[in-house]
Amino acid sequence: MDEFRRQLRARSYLFALVLTVGLLIANIIALPAFGAPHNWTANLSLFAPFMLVACASTPAVISGGGGLDISIGPLATCISIFIVAKLLPSSTFHSPFLAVPIALLFGAGVGFTNGFLVAVLRFEPVIATLCMLFVLTGVALEITPEAGGAPAGNWTTALTGHTLGVVGPLLMIAAPIVVWWALGRTPLLRHLYGVGANDAAAFSAGVNVTAVRIFAYTLGGVFAGVAGIALAAILQAADATLIGSYTLIAIAAVVLGGTPIGGGRGGLLNSILGASTIFLLQNFLTSIHVSANWQQPAYGAMLLAGVILGSLALRQRPPKARAAA
């Protein structure tokens, strides 16, 4: 049992991995066309926003201290509306070489503000990002135009396979993975995990805890910017009603992936697997004609199982085992 726990702790993504593989098979059995290569582009394009909001929610959770960013869903939605309603129709900013950096900066700015509120002004992360959620919801509604369609033939369609094929969605999916990998080659990620696991230890060892926490929220904001681009690409329209649907699913994907809310553990891979689990489950339930009303309870049940497994892995060993270790 102890060894089992240790394995679970070391490979916290196992539960989500097993579910992902299982659900992938279930999907292909239920609807053989799901796995056909000509559907990959569409499936991956649909998957991208899910996965990106999950990735965007991850750094704040890892940074510990109750770290949580519930404004990621609204931020991604708000950025997508901003792209569709303001950037694409604009004669100056419609080019991807300007629009992409602007979208990412938008995300980084909001993330930085969250980080500043949490790390410098010491707001509870849930409260700070809840305030941000309301602000962003207002902004999103304000900038949503009456007729919310994007101009035909804009560059974002390439990301859903129009000209680039399967490379389009893969570009979006790869973005956070590449960034995470690159950060892994600097001390920054180690600092992030160290701060998340024990901020007092990190502080006394000379880590700039404030800077690391601000960085975590800013990185989440940047990833939310990518998610916003993905949303704009798939929807080709400004739709403020999506704010609600991505807010909690992002957190659910993080937790389901095995990244505990306590911080210092888990990672991007966890969240990607968590997001794919939710995405595949949704697909599966739709393809076997289960009412959409039952999808949410199904997420809940799965999340519960994931959390139970996670807490089994993290449970304090009983004194006897501890002494014998």
């Binding site: 920054l188 180690r190 160290g194 060892a205 000379g206 004194p319």
Partner: protein, 540 residues
């Protein structure tokens, strides 16, 4: 620019110089007047709200010396360390570090950059991270590594090998290690930084004896190379073993600095407290409380598979010590006594003239009058968000009921009784428990269990990190309890406690009861010998 920086950079040259011209190096004579001063603390004061933690404290640290700082809890030791490590800045006074006089250090980072590195009593690790990451925690810049991974691995391996007989694999998560090994990781974190000034603030209290001795070896090697060590410990034997000079703090003032050769434990205790004995051992033992009726019997205790089982009977009115090197089964034994079942073992509570009653769980043990005071005060015993009164009253609040209502005044009256008896220092019982010092928190926890009027008291290292004055109150209280017929089992990591306090001492080794020493046989030498499986007296 900074003398400390120079010491570190020029160390190889200095070694070379001293090899060629033996007399030219000041560091060759560490206690000599010529030794370079690494840190000078000049009349610093620091207050937190109304609490004046430091009033007027001055001392200096010379290159190549181990400078012990002693004092009771609340005497200002921790605050002094926080000033030296950049956690706080002094309100008054000055620090001179590496030849530069400053009002204070801005952050831990500043202190670390000056070569001032501390290991604290609190075990500061990132549990899910690897040993390697924990050893090098905070060393790198935000964006750039300051050493390659290979260099870090080699250095960490070397330092851990010097510190531990069985160093853990570098990729193991620290949460899989024993407490002692976790603290060893914190010490390794300090050592890999090549400190110019090493501060050990109660850093040895979580270490097992073997690791501690190895740490002392390392400290001696470092001082011979010009490092200065501030050493803070509640253990007189450690101070005697390692310190060159001792500074005593009392109530935020530096009272005296003595060279070790010119002082004695007795004088140091007097300087700290104005009193000169741990406990009135002779009178207490003369009272002879042994031979009371059996109150607890444990049979066929096998503390882990393969270990030899043993039986144990506890009598009313005796104080039994539990000793041994850390991690040799003492914790398991205490947990059995508090009612945690182990395979094959059995625990019975007994009352004169009644049938023995088997105990299967800590809950049943509680009902039979067995109280357990855990070791990890913060994690296992305190309700940190609650007041002193709540912390005291929680398990026994039923005593203050009148009908359905709890009478606060009754609780207050009960608490006051223990405040007097245990000399708990507190201003208002409605304040949060966290406003008290560690020793006083521990007394409140003790009061909580005493209020339940236990027949058996199981204590897990209760005086760990508690100051001398509080310890003395505590010993006196244990004596009174025993005289009232309460049976006490106490795990202690302090040899002196076993020598001065216990009626008999159970020594554990490899999860077996290896020896039982009676009061007359207990001495430091005998204890340490039996820890290492030697016959007492055969070889100290």
């Amino acid at each position: 620019m900074r003398a400390i920086g120079r010491v570190r950079l020029t160390r190889p040259i200095a070694v070379l110089m001293s090899a060629i011209f033996p007399q030219t190096s000041a560091r060759e004579e560490p206690s000599g007047a010529a030794a370079e001063v690494l840190i000078r603390v000049d009349s610093v004061a620091k207050a937190f709200g109304p609490t004046r933690a430091l009033r007027d404290c001055s001392l200096d640290l010379r290159a190549g010396e181990v400078h012990a700082i002693m004092g009771e809890n609340g005497s200002g030791k921790s605050t002094l360390v926080k000033l030296l490590t950049g956690v706080h800045r002094p309100d008054r006074g000055e620090l001179t570090i590496g030849g530069r006089t400053v009002r204070g250090l801005r952050s831990p980072r500043t202190a670390l950059d000056q070569g001032v590195v501390a290991v604290l009593q609190e075990i500061l690790v990132a549990p899910p991270r690897s040993v390697l990451d924990n050893v090098w925690l905070g060393y790198d810049g935000l964006l750039r590594d300051r050493a390659s991974r290979r260099q870090k691995q080699d250095r960490a391996r070397a330092v851990l090998a010097e510190l531990l007989e069985h160093p853990p694999a570098l990729d193991r998560p620290v949460e899989d290690l024993s407490i002692s090994d976790r603290q060893a990781c914190c010490i390794a974190r300090a050592l890999v930084r090549d400190p110019a000034v090493l501060i050990l603030d109660e850093a040895t209290s979580a270490l097992d004896v073997a690791t501690r001795d190895r740490l002392f070896e390392i400290a001696r090697r470092l001082t011979s190379q010009g490092t200065g060590v501030f050493f803070i410990s509640h253990r007189m034997d450690e101070v005697e073993a390692i310190a060159d000079r001792v500074t005593v703090l009392r109530s935020g003032n530096s009272v005296a600095t003595r060279s070790r050769d010119q002082t004695s434990p007795r004088e140091l205790v007097m300087l700290m407290t104005g009193q000169d004995h741990l406990v009135g051992g002779e009178e207490r033992r003369a009272a002879g409380r042994r031979g009371g009726d059996a109150v607890l019997r444990a049979s066929h205790l096998q503390l882990r598979s393969g270990a030899a089982p043993f039986d144990f009977t506890l009598h009313a009115g005796e104080i039994v010590g539990v000793a041994g090197l850390e991690g040799h089964g003492q914790d398991v034994f205490l947990h059995v006594l508090r009612g945690v079942a182990i395979p094959g073992g059995a625990l019975y509570a007994m009352r004169t003239g009644e049938q023995p009653v088997a105990i299967h769980s800590p809950h049943e043990a509680g009902q039979r009058g067995i109280a357990y005071v855990p070791r990890e005060r913060r994690a296992e015993a305190l309700f940190e968000t609650q007041s002193v009164r709540e912390n005291f009253a929680l398990p026994t609040v039923a005593q203050d009921r009148s009908g359905m209502l709890v009478r606060k005044r009754r609780t207050a009256r009960r608490l006051q009784m223990y405040v007097d008896r245990l000399s708990i220092r507190l201003s208002d019982p409605g304040n949060p428990i966290t406003t008290l010092s560690g020793g006083n928190q521990q007394k409140v926890v003790m009061a909580r269990w005493l209020a339940a009027k236990p027949r058996v008291l199981v204590l897990n290292d209760p005086t760990r990190g508690v100051d001398l004055g509080a310890k003395r109150d505590f010993y006196a209280m244990l004596g009174e309890l025993a005289a009232d017929g309460v049976a006490v089992v106490m795990l202690s990591t302090e040899l002196d406690e076993h020598v001065e306090l216990m009626d008999r001492v159970l020594v554990f080794r490899d999860f077996e009861l290896s020896r039982e020493l009676l009061a007359a046989e207990v001495s430091r030498d005998a204890l340490v010998a039996s820890f290492f499986g030697q016959e007492p007296g055969a070889h100290g």
